[in-house]
């Protein structure tokens, strides 16, 4: 039943050696509760993979499985081609950057960073040098003798990353590392983290519920829901071509319309929705007349009719407007009561001073329309 899921892509065909991490058929259940359901996922060497999903989707459990903090009920974890499924947590070298940072409060910054090296026999000079390297990399040199309680949130995070990198791992696991930071710091850390990953050219396995973080940093985004992988793809794949209802609703600002296929020709498919007829491009997925489908239209692909090409259009009433930076978000309502979101650059909008409660025509290009099959029965 799970294997028949059409959207679990396993497109990587590279030989195992070029993979830092392979997850093969990972299942985990607590009693009857499926926490991880047939997870298959590869992380190429040097790849930045973001695991995204709502809380409780199993993303953190997956991270803990890789680190060895949780066991699996079934399946294998391969690190650089070596099966580590049965290896205890302390023998894996899969360091984790914790959401809470989990720094050792009784040690200072230097001792925290050195911790992983002091557990086995290391020459003192070497430990010092590696700590120094990690500190330079993360701009921590002036803080090395500080106590942990004297650090700010951003500094603590850099210590947590330095501490994880000091043992020179092939892969770094990050568990929502930004969630404890101030919003302005988050944006800056995103850039720094990406640069760090590229400079080190190691893989990052980054768990988050924040799509901005996932999209801005990751080479590959994995969307999870209810213990299953919904879609794997590049950020633009996920954003522009959501493969499931869940992804379409969870990611981006998509408008969804339920409808029925009424006509198919070699270029377009006509769908009848409560809001009127909508055309979608004919892509490789086969559809039949009479089939129930969902039409997905990204909010930033819609325009208010007078300013754009009219290929698909619907009527809606403007209910509210919100300015976010250079963008304006319009909240509209159709005659059937469905809420629609529309995003425009502010410059486009300045000439168009639409009053609230005005009836508007929204339009978008046929090629921006995404078609999904009927909502599967077990989806939420």
């Amino acid at each position: 039943m799970v294997l028949s899921q059409p959207h679990t892509q396993l497109s990587e065909t590279n030989p195992a050696s070029s993979h830092d991490l392979e997850l093969v058929d990972i299942c985990k259940y607590y009693g009857p509760l499926m926490v991880l359901d047939q997870i298959n996922l590869n992380v190429k060497a040097g790849e930045f993979v973001a695991i995204m999903g709502p809380s409780g989707c199993g993303k953190t459990t997956l991270l803990r499985v890789i680190a060895g903090l949780e066991g699996v009920s079934q399946g294998h974890v391969l690190l650089r081609g070596q099966d580590i499924t049965g290896l205890p947590v302390n023998k894996r070298n899969t360091p984790l950057v914790w959401q809470s940072f989990a720094l050792f409060p009784h040690l200072n910054v230097r001792q925290n960073i050195a911790f992983g090296l002091t557990l086995t026999r290391h020459i003192k000079a070497e430990v010092q040098q590696r700590v120094q390297e990690a500190a330079v990399m993360l701009n921590l040199e002036p803080l090395l003798d500080r106590r942990i309680s004297q650090l700010s949130g951003g500094q603590k995070q850099r210590v947590a990353i330095a501490r994880a990198l000091v043992t020179k791992p092939n892969i770094l696991l990050l568990d929502e590392p930004m969630s404890a930071l101030d919003p302005h710091l988050r944006i800056r850390m995103q850039g720094e983290l990406k640069r760090l990953q590229q400079a080190l050219s190691i893989s990052f396995f980054y768990v988050t519920h924040n799509q901005n973080e996932a999209f801005s940093m990751a080479d590959k985004v994995v969307v999870m829901n209810q213990g299953r992988i919904e879609q794997i793809g590049t950020p633009s794949d996920i954003y522009n071509a959501p493969a499931t209802h869940f992804v379409a609703e969870f990611v981006g600002n998509n408008n969804l319309f339920e409808g029925e296929v009424v006509e198919i020709n070699n270029q377009t498919i006509q769908i009848r929705c409560a809001q009127g007829l909508i055309q979608a491009p004919y892509r490789d997925r086969p559809h039949q007349i009479g089939e129930r489908v969902t039409v997905v239209v990204p909010a930033d692909r819609m325009v208010i009719a007078s300013t754009g090409p009219i290929e698909n259009s619907i009527q809606a009433t403007l209910r509210a407007r919100e300015f976010i930076g250079s963008q304006v978000i319009y909240y509209l309502e159709t005659s059937t009561g469905q809420e629609i979101k529309l995003i425009q650059q502010q410059s486009l909008n300045e000439s168009l001073n639409v009053p609230i409660n005005a009836d508007l025509q929204l339009s978008w290009k046929v090629e921006s329309t995404i078609l999904l099959g009927e909502r599967s029965v077990d989806a939420p």
């Binding site: 302390n90 984790l96 989990a102």
Partner: protein
Amino acid sequence: MAIQKKQGSDRLLALAGWAYLLLGFGFLLLPIFALVLFSFEDSRLPTLPWTGWTLKWYNFLLSDGRLLEALKNSLIVSPLAAAAATVIGFFAAYALNRFEFWGKKFLSILLIVPILIPPLIMGVAFLGLLSRVNLQGQLLSVFLTHVVILIPTAIALITIRLAQMPSDIEQAAWNLGASEWQALFRVVLPWSIPGIAGAWLLSFTFSFDEFVIAWFVSGFQPTLPVAIYSFMAFNLDPSLNAIGTIIFALSILLLVGVELLLIPLLLENRSNSKQA
């Protein structure tokens, strides 16, 4: 006018509060003050008028070897019993904090039981048990019984500290390559130090003061409280005041030690929670 009146009644109330406090503390501390004072009184009778200062009662105590011997016994038994109880308490608290296992509830109740049983019953029971295995009447018997009664205190204090430890930091140690023992000694133990120190100090104080059980099991190697009791049975003179003064001074020293250790601990936690 009205405001002035209100201020006046407030001040009166504050004054009454202070007076109450002073009276309360005076009532509590006056006997001790009298005890300390009359340990330096020349006359045998602890009454006014003051007849003169002397140290002869202290001299008398020191020249009588029994009490010094008992003090020595106490200073051997109490630190060791406190240390043993603290070590056992640490591991028990760690296990109860970290693991879920069959019979955990039962075990945690069992560990508290020694505190609930009256010492008299405990003393009789221990004497019965120890005499069957020929361990009665020695310092070792006091040590063993004291370890048993001190464990609950030690567990309670160390558990409080362990419960505040973020579970992440132990897992972080494993994640960085530490074995369970390495994580225990290099992360959990340092974290628990304030709790451990507090547990040892409190256990030591309990053991040092403990009379009833020690009276049953100590036999010919009495601890200080037991020796004081037998001393009292024969001498009713100010040398008892002198003993009281010495014990009081020792207790104060210990109390100050505990506070110096525990208060920084509490303050540190408060600033931690403020940050969070």
